[in-house]
Amino acid sequence: MAQTTVKIYTPTTPIWCPGCGDFGVLASLKKALSDLQIKSKDTVIVGGIGCSGSIHNNLECYGIHSLHGRLLPTAVGVKLANPQLTVIAAGGDGDGYAIGAGHFLHTLKKNPSIIYIVMQNGTYGLTKGQPSPTAQVGYEGNVDLPFDAILTALSIPSTTFIARGFSANQAQLTDLMKKAISHSNSNEGMGFLEVLSPCVTYNDTYKEWREQVYDLSTEKDYNPHNRLLAFTRVSEITNQGKIPTGLVYSGRVKSLEENTLSKEKGPLALQDISLESNLPKYEQILNDFR
């Protein structure tokens, strides 16, 4: 807000229940953005629909609240229109892994340089506690084995950054957020960060999760740059009833913008699209009709 004197909206107080894990996510996100000195004017948060999907209202930036499950395509649209922005999609596990599952796969596949934060709580908080795709067996009648987004992300050959944090471990979470943001802001592709963020009202997993989390960085020979080993190790740890956290994998595959956008012309959202400036090209293309 240095340059202008325009008064803008005041971020609202979160709508979350006291103790909700999402407070931890918000705190980390704020800290990461501030530590990395990302300008508010260049930050776009794309919210999902759910308790989690209101986070964009709680900090000063550009925010767009997408439809339920559609935050990723929305974020990709924003990024392709203006790759200079820091685009952060943030929503729930129902939003991202249930109704949004197709976009989840395909956005990972496209590898756009956006950050995607999933607040995983095993439940649909906002609609009052139905099982989400990550719900434990037995939770509210759930019979399916939970979806493991980290494993599935690893199965997509073009993923470039995969991590898991825990909202109760602020130091680690903030570090992972910074890493994810730096990854994406260096135009290296999608920073995917799942955050264990308990729903204290409908599925209070704080206790279990505190016991289950397992920080990969404590493993000396864990190599986060080998997809196969990562898959194997994460699976093993998970099979032992633990939940691996930390940087799971990072690698290098061309990002969507690298693959798609013209370099010369600058962000297409900001291009001069007047007739005058483009007339010669238009006339040239008109010849295709002859």
Binding site: V6, K7, K41, G63, R70, T74, V78, N82, S274, N278
Partner: protein, 599 residues
């Protein structure tokens, strides 16, 4: 190999100011190639052309045909009858039989036997020629039967060999020497065949200078209009008959710094579009009915969030998967009323390729000026048939971005509110990267800042603010085109690809001494009721012509105009376009009935 070529009724070449040729066979036979070759010939000698395709939703096999009409006048329909038919099989003759002129000529591929007797005695001139066999035996590929047929057609139509050669060359030159040579050989084979068998010109086609007219389908015109209108972000998912737009744009938009992206589905399409529009790009998406149904939620989101996006809806036969390659206009109700809740939208419907270009630019401007979703409603015939038109007039184009803010605009503002209440209901729009324009955009009901609100007073104001934009836009919306006599008592209303058939029907009605006026509607929603009233007030009877079952437009017009009895629906929903005479018959029968009943 014995070729059986006969020309049953040699006659003096007939002057044809207007001729229609159909090529029919199995999908993959390359009938459309012949259409294109003929089109080039006709355009080279200064004629207008109009072509149409009739294919199945499969890649090879099954009956498929292409029709091309050439005329000294501009035409926007394939007309009432086929003058010359090239049939690669008997199914093609069967399929065409009801459309053949009484004295039509048929070039029949007799590779599997001569054309069955049952088609004799109809006054048709039949040329039996073993096109396929000849291609296979002499050129080793059956597909060259097309070029052989093209050669024979050329002779029948009295087109010069040089013209045929030139046209063939310019088509195959870029495909490499091998393709070119083979086709040239096929052409001489055909010419020889024609000569040997003494096939003379039956028709005389008027020649003039090659005009500067271009050839475009509605889809191509939309795509080009998008570029010229400043469109730089297109996202799509393949679907007939919309895919052409994406495929035309893909190799061209990058020259302008823009992007075409194929998404994983239509939900991604509309939401990616929304994201890009939000960030400040000019955005268009295109789909057909099934995709549009999937975009239903997204369109409402753009309405509530006040984001500009143009959605091209290329209608085909519905419901559900329907008949993907066939023509219909049955998605009006859906684009006008579909999606839950109430939000502002506009629905615009061009009737020709020329209009597709202009109205696409208008749609982009309207979307951004009024910050809402704009539908551009096409139908399969308009999308995919080609027409000769004057080159698109670039000089007339203006790119209007409405209340889109720049950084310097923002400096002058005290408080920025994305959804500020303003006199005209339109709020200044900032995009990310501008300092001072930070704000929230959402599909939840919201206050001026874009923060969620369920305050009842705010709700009432926000709803009214948004909905009133539709009223406000009325002054700028594409008005109907009026044709015909001002003093007529009979009126026709139509939209989209019925334009051509209706115009021709008007001529036919005139010759029956039935004078009509015609309003081609170009804004479907909101209906420009005042124009409709002005048009229709003096009329005793209004026929609303449309390709659907329910008479969807007629219903909308009835509820806008009242006096429902006056309004009669003429509908067709069998997947094919109207023939001019079908409209003429429907109107004259209805009027005749009325006259006889003394009304």
């Amino acid at each position: 190999m014995a070729t059986t070529l006969e020309q049953q009724k040699p006659a003096e070449p007939m002057l044809k100011q207007d001729i229609c040729i159909m090529i029919g066979g199995q999908g993959g036979d390359g009938t459309l190639t012949v259409v294109n070759l003929l089109g080039s010939c006709f355009r080279n000698i200064g004629l207008n052309v109009y072509d149409a395709r009739n294919v199945l939703s499969r890649i090879r096999g099954g009956h498929a045909d292409g029709v091309i009409r050439a005329s000294t006048e501009q035409v926007l329909s394939t007309g009432d009858q086929v003058d010359v038919l090239v049939a690669f099989d008997e199914e093609a003759v069967q399929a065409a039989v009801n459309e053949l002129a009484p004295d039509a000529s048929i070039i029949f591929d007799s590779s599997k036997g001569q054309l069955s007797e049952k088609f004799g005695g109809m006054g048709l001139r039949v040329v039996n020629a073993p096109l396929g066999n000849m291609a296979a035996s002499k050129l080793r590929r059956n597909i060259f039967k097309n070029t052989i047929a093209f050669a024979i057609l050329g002779r029948l139509l009295g087109l010069e060999d040089d013209l045929l050669i030139e046209v063939l060359r310019s088509r195959y030159e870029r495909r490499g020497k091998e393709a070119l040579d083979a086709n040239m050989q096929a052409l001489s084979l055909g010419s020889d065949l024609a000569k040997q068998n003494n096939i003379r010109s039956i028709y005389k086609i008027p020649h003039s200078e090659k005009s500067n007219k271009i050839l475009a389908t509605g889809n191509e015109a939309v795509a080009y209009g998008f570029l010229v209108g400043g469109g730089r972000f297109f996202v799509g998912y393949p679907i007939t008959p919309a895919t052409d737009i994406m495929e035309w744009l893909a190799p061209r938009i990058s020259k302008l710094g823009g992007v075409v992206k194929q998404a994983e589905d239509e939900l991604a399409v509309i939401n990616m579009g929304i994201g890009a529009a939000y960030a400040g790009a000019r955005v268009m998406v295109a789909t057909s009915g099934p995709g549009q149904s999937l975009m239903t939620e997204g369109v409402g989101h753009a309405g509530e969030a006040e984001l500009p996006i143009v959605v091209v809806e290329c209608q085909r036969v519905g419901p559900s998967t329907g008949e993907p390659t066939k023509n219909e206009q049955s998605d009006l109700n859906h684009v006008v009323y579909g999606s839950h809740g109430e939000f502002p939208r506009l629905v615009i419907a061009p009737g020709s390729a020329a209009e597709c270009f202009q109205l696409t630019v208008d749609a982009l401007n309207l979307a951004e000026t009024y910050q809402l979703p704009v539908f551009l409603l096409l139908d399969q015939a308009l999308c995919q048939n080609s027409e000769s038109i004057l080159p698109f007039n670039l000089k007339s184009i203006k790119v209007e971005r409405g209340k889109l803010l720049s950084q310097s605009d923002l400096e002058k503002i005290q408080t920025y509110k994305r959804y500020q209440f303003s006199e005209d209901g339109i709020s200044p729009r900032s995009v990310p990267s501008l300092e001072g324009g930070q704000s929230q955009v959402t599909g939840n009901e919201h206050n001026e800042y874009g923060l969620t609100s369920v305050d009842t007073t705010n709700r009432l104001r926000m709803m009214s603010k948004r909905m009133k934009k539709v009223e406000l836009a009325k002054n700028e919306l594409p008005r109907g085109n009026n044709f015909g006599r001002k003093d007529a008592k009979i009126g026709i209303i139509g939209f989209g690809s019925t334009l051509g058939p209706i115009l021709e029907s008007m001529e036919q009605l005139k010759s029956k001494n039935i004078g009509v006026r015609f309003q081609q509607i170009r804004t479907i929603f909101p209906l420009l009721v005042e124009d409709l009233i002005e048009f229709s007030d003096p009329l005793d009877k209004i026929f609303v012509v449309e390709n659907n079952y329910q008479g969807q437009l007629a219903k909308m017009i009835r509820s806008a105009l009242g006096r429902n009895e006056r309004i009669e629906s003429i509908t067709k929903f069998d997947g094919t376009s109207f023939k001019p005479r079908e409209i003429t018959n429907a109107i004259s029968t209805s009027i005749q009935g009325k006259l006889e009943m003394g009304v």
